[in-house]
Symmetry: C2
Subunit: 178 residues, 2 copies
DNA sequence: CTCACATATATGCGATGTCCAATAGATGTC
DNA sequence: GACATCTATTGGACATCGCATATATGTGAG
């Protein structure tokens, strides 16, 4: 139910086509929210249908025409309503932990491989997050800038925590002979 | 696709009814995996249909009869296959971060409330995780015990990280006048 | 000339998941 | 006696999601 609002939020910053939306989502909120391309188009259609957004066809000569979507007053109100609504926090699913939970069916060596793979993936993700250009003076970008940098910092902090936890977990496993 | 395997994994530890399964899931893997009750029953039916588990009706006099589910050899093999299969790690969705990302549409005071609410929820979750009895000698419970304690430690580590991040984020907001 | 790639949108389908409600006996409480 | 709670299962309705696939045009590489 929240992709609607995420899209509404991004469109409120700047009107966009579905195609551009996909790219912006991947680059900005990608580390805590993903969206399938087809799902984006479907959601956009739903927003238009419900009057929360309007689409305007922009004729382009060097490219296929695109549908530019903007948030309506109704959509803006819905966005505010959502922001003020209570947030029920269901624990997020962690497939990796789910696997580790049952991994004692495998030999210890395999478990180490599981942890190593996880470490490699996380290192990459962390590097990608850290590579994002951070302006020296964050406050320059106003409240929105501070908040968006905070979500980035969140991703970095959790990635580091996960790496530390991997270290600790591998040390625990060292005591166990394979 | 993974609830199947989570259930298979738990059933491999001990045969259970759907009802007990729900409780065990909530108490053991609850902090990184949730399952709706009706979904559990449907998944169990699917497992039986596919021959990965068998159900046996146990007549109880003081309670309604129950269906005890056990993993078959086929199910056990499937579990091992899943453990060895590559794990594609899609970033988990964080509705709270999604909201914070667009929260600059609200007055700063509201944003602080958002953070405070999050802090209260997390403190509760952290306390719940820390309250879980941890045996002094974890290795006593073998490899499985070590791994399961590791998933618990993971939850605790991330909860603490999130609380620290909340502190830092609130400090950042202090500089901004409401 | 062909093939890959970027732009741009759309539909079908199945898997998965949540919410809600119904059923039903036993036990406990006010 | 009424009402809630625990055990235990089932089904319908509906939303969401991800994957695959289709279509169309322009650009640049080889």
């Amino acid at each position: 139910m929240s992709l609607r609002h995420a899209i509404l939020g991004i469109l409120s910053i700047k009107p966009m086509s579905g195609y551009e939306l996909k790219k912006v989502i991947d680059e900005s909120v990608g580390h805590f929210w993903t969206a399938d391309q087809s799902q984006i188009y479907r959601t956009l259609a739903g927003l238009v249908e419900d009057g929360l957004a309007v689409r305007r066809t922009v004729v382009q000569e060097e490219r296929p025409n695109m549908h530019l979507h903007s948030v309506t007053d109704l959509g803006s109100a819905e966005l505010d309503r959502w922001l003020a609504s209570p947030l029920k926090a269901r624990p997020s699913r962690e497939p990796f932990l789910a696997r580790l939970f049952f991994a004692d069916r495998m030999p210890v060596e395999r478990i180490r491989e599981l942890l190593d793979t996880r470490r490699r993936e996380l290192s990459g993700q962390l590097a990608a997050l850290e590579a994002i250009e951070v302006p020296a003076d964050a406050a320059e970008f106003g409240l929105g800038g501070v908040l968006r940098l905070a979500t980035l910092a969140n991703g970095i902090a959790h990635a580091r925590t996960e790496l530390d936890w991997l270290d600790a977990t591998e040390r625990r496993l060292e005591g166990i002979t394979s």
